[in-house]
Symmetry: C2
Subunit: 210 residues, 2 copies
DNA sequence: GTCTATATAGGGATAGAC
DNA sequence: GTCTATCCCTATATAGAC
């Protein structure tokens, strides 16, 4: 088979298996079995398991960098926030293995840790910029300190929302519904600072997910 | 050596090593080495590694159950919230290995998962009760929906604060200072609902940790 | 590019002597 | 209660044939 294709299949299957079973529970042999190729073949394409994780991470990084772009040239509105949260949460969902064992995965690999920290920094800037934009547009009222603290909480809630869902449900899997709930949960962080009309509207929407 | 003592030493050392290196990275052989006992001896006292984790978890559970007790017979004030957050965060710190790899640890053990879910449920009740108490005392103003959503975010931020700290600092360890920052971060979740005087006071205090 | 076969290492766990 | 010795199994990774 063409080299590109096998390499690509390994990456796709690895991602799927990491997401389904958790990265620590997926071995190179499991991946090879699933693809019906030999372990030796897998090691022809990648130096080791960590190499696979790194390549998958790189794709995640590109995707998340895109999701974090803030629309320029105009002030953001609540619809923009909504849209951006969807982009970000869908990216997190597609690479949920990373978030499931975030500390463990990053602790084994300095490069990944540095890159993830960079993404968090970008996300913090993005969140703060959007909040400032909302304030400038009169949609939101908050001091600079409140904006900074809220941006930090937005980051934290978004980053660990899926883990929270998994851990809270005594049984049962986490699905796309929980993601939507997470988006609302993030919106509710900024709700107290919204103009009355917008806050009332948001609270009505959020009823369905409490 | 008396059986109680060796068993006790195993539990203490395991906890220390789990916290320092992460539970997935600590093997039964490592624990035995550290204690300068034989692996066979360790297995005389515990059926397997999971048994050790369960026993350590039980102690965590007792401790957290205590920290989540809400003072009865009077309305809570902000000082109570402050104190309780300290109790809870110190407990989380002492058993931080559990939070570091929460999803992974719980996914391997249904019993632990059920117990942790129970603790989260208790914590949610506790948080909501305290917020309602603050509202009843006129310290805070929020609708029932806002209280519910805020309690959920309090839970999430508290549960994953340490992981967030670890992951955000590109390098360097997490220490007790970060814990204090986490407590402020939780307080800032409820700040928007506080009476003006209390909110101003809190924001002043929080300056040091932004 | 892919396979088979295998080397190496380590972790979990037990048997049986002391 | 503790130790030594050991077994089993799995995971990573490589060598060399095809």
């Amino acid at each position: 088979m063409a080299p590109r294709q096998t390499r690509e299949r390994i990456l796709e299957t690895s991602l799927a298996m990491f997401n389904a079973q958790g990265e620590p529970n997926v071995t190179t042999n499991h991946i090879a079995d699933e693809l019906e190729i030999s372990p030796g073949n897998l090691y022809y394409h990648f130096r080791n398991k960590e190499d696979i994780v790194e390549q998958v991470f790189t794709r995640y990084e590109v995707r998340m960098d895109d999701a974090l772009l803030v629309p320029e040239g105009r002030l953001p509105n609540l619809e923009d926030v909504w849209m951006q949260l969807h982009m970000v949460f869908e990216c997190m969902w597609d690479y949920r293995f990373l978030y499931r064992d975030l500390v463990d995965i990053l602790s084994r690999n300095r490069k990944l840790k540095a890159h993830f920290a960079r993404i968090l920094t970008r996300a913090a800037s993005s969140a703060a910029a959007v909040l400032r934009g909302l304030a400038a547009g009169g949609i939101l009222r908050a001091t600079e300190d409140e904006i900074r603290a809220t941006a930090e909480n937005v980051l934290l809630v978004a980053t660990f929302w899926m883990n929270f869902s998994i851990v809270r449900n005594a049984r049962g899997e986490v699905g796309q519904d929980d993601l939507t709930h997470g988006i609302y949960q993030v919106m509710l962080l900024i709700a107290p600072f919204l103009r009355d009309a917008e806050r009332a509207h948001l609270n009505t929407l959020a009823q369905a997910y409490r």
